[in-house]
């Protein structure tokens, strides 16, 4: 594969997923500037490793999952390097039930789709759960693809998705909006 041919195929198969790459990086880092830098670094990494990618036009999803794996790993490296107080949250044991109430199922139903409330809840969701939810709900990756991207077993993907969604549902069904610093249920 010549450099010209490689560039053409890269722009055909990988470049269309730029927005997904940014979306993932943004949700993982919660920083616009960092997300753009991470995506740029990821694209350069992806380009230099493009020979190792064996996809075809018939399966564009594979190219997306491949790129998102690189974005995810680059983001994790960035997060480790820039570890701060709230970035340390991300371990599974940090996720606890935000509320023990709402015995009435009707009351537990998601009341509002207030966008800012959802955004805030998602930002507060610990990293491991957040990445699973983003990859599934926003990027539409299958369990198998998430498992490969994150590098955990399928069962862990399902458990993180399930617990992450439960947590979000409970947060969003409480009458009061969650305050970021308090992070109900987060330690």
């Amino acid at each position: 594969m010549t450099s010209q041919e490689k560039l053409r195929r890269f722009e055909d198969q990988i470049s269309p997923h730029l927005k997904s790459a940014y979306n993932l990086a943004k949700w993982l880092t919660r920083s616009h500037e960092d997300a753009e830098d991470i995506v740029q670094e990821s694209f350069l990494r992806a380009f230099s490793a493009f020979e190792s990618f064996r996809g075809d036009d018939a399966k564009p999803q594979n190219a997306k999952a491949w790129l998102l794996t690189i974005v995810r790993n680059t983001s994790m490296t960035w997060l480790k390097r820039n570890r701060n107080a709230h970035a340390t949250i991300g371990f599974e044991d940090a996720l606890e039930d935000p509320i023990e109430r709402s015995p009435d199922p009707e009351e537990g139903l998601l009341i509002s789709c207030d966008r800012e409330q959802v955004r805030q809840a998602l930002e507060q969701l610990p990293l491991d759960f957040r990445e699973a939810v983003i990859l599934r709900e926003m990027e539409g990756l299958s369990y198998k693809e998430i498992s490969a991207t994150v590098g955990v077993p399928l069962g862990t993907v399902m458990s993180r998705l399930s617990r992450g969604r439960d947590w979000l549902r409970r947060i969003l069904s409480t009458p009061q909006p969650v305050k970021p610093e308090e992070g109900a249920g987060l330690r």
Binding site: T2, S3, Q4, K6, L7, F10, E11, S15, L18, K19, Y22, N23, K26, W27, H32, A35, E36, V39, Q40, F43, L44, F47, S48, P105, G108, L109, L110, C113, R115, V118, R119, L122, V133, R136, E137, M138, S142, Y143, M158, L161, S162, R165, L168, R169, L172
Partner: protein, 260 residues
């Protein structure tokens, strides 16, 4: 399917991760169970909230141009480094590989020569052993000569009919080497001629046979249990000389024989 099972399967059902049979079972349960339908509605509500397009993070307006430029720059640099790496390979290659190849050829050649040499010398060692054995045997009473004569015109014809070659029988008496006779012996799987010369009381056995290989006339010495063995390949004849004579005198004899 129980409600507990249904709740476990529900997320995977909504994520379209169940096979057809499992999906149908969940579907059937949902159609029969209001509580589980309610759970499904909750999950679908969360899903649609999360899939709100406005939550999807958008990069800066010119971001895709910036990335495209960065990737194209990387492609350009890669092409350049590939060209230069090929160049380097060839350029350095000619300096790195030529001595390496030369060294390989030298090592291989030396190895081959050593092997050939050791094969040759082991072959010569075999002949030396046979010649020495023949010499020692000849010292037993009655074994030294079959045709006792100091006359080369008697000795030379004696070999005719006994060998398929006619060995040269030089007269070296003027140089102090007296021919005393000849006999047949057996060396390296073939009958050979042996001429016997004497100086003082020392017998000199000269084994000779046709030389079918290369000739260099170089006199070589072999180790031999207190005996002197000299041999060389003449143009037509291979000579092996063995005696208990001292090395210097035997070498003198060998040169006289060779020069004849």
């Amino acid at each position: 399917m129980t409600c507990d099972d249904s709740r476990i399967y529900l997320p995977a059902y909504l994520d379209d991760e169940l096979d057809v049979a499992e999906s149908l079972r969940v579907q059937k349960h949902l159609s029969e169970c209001g509580d589980c339908r309610h759970a499904q509605d909750e999950q679908l509500a969360l899903r649609s909230a999360l899939r709100d397009p406005d939550l999807y993070a958008q990069p800066s307006a010119d971001f895709s141009k910036r990335i495209e430029a960065a990737v194209r720059q990387a492609a350009k640099e890669e092409a350049r480094s590939q060209r230069s790496s090929w160049f380097e390979w060839f350029r350095l290659g000619s300096f790195r590989w030529v001595p390496a190849a030369a060294a390989l050829v030298i090592v291989t050649t030396i190895g081959a020569l050593l092997v050939m040499n050791s094969l040759r010398s082991s072959h010569e060692q075999l002949i030396a052993n046979a010649v020495l054995a023949g010499h020692i045997r000849s010292l037993q009473p009655g074994h030294l000569i079959d045709v006792p004569s100091s006359d080369r015109h008697t000795v030379k014809p004696w070999f005719q009919g006994r060998l398929d070659f006619s060995p040269p029988v030089p007269d070296l008496s003027e140089l102090g080497w007296n021919l005393v006779g000849g006999r047949l012996d057996y060396v390296d799987g073939k009958p050979v001629a042996v001429l016997v010369y004497q100086r003082r009381m020392h017998n000199i056995n000269v084994f000779l046979w046709p030389n079918h290989g290369s000739a260099d006339d170089a006199i070589r010495e072999e180790d031999a249990q207190g005996y002197q063995i000299l041999h060389w390949n003449g143009a037509e004849t291979t000579y092996w000389v063995v005696s208990d004579l001292n090395n210097a005198e035997l070498l003198e004899f060998a040169r006289a024989l060779r020069g004849h």
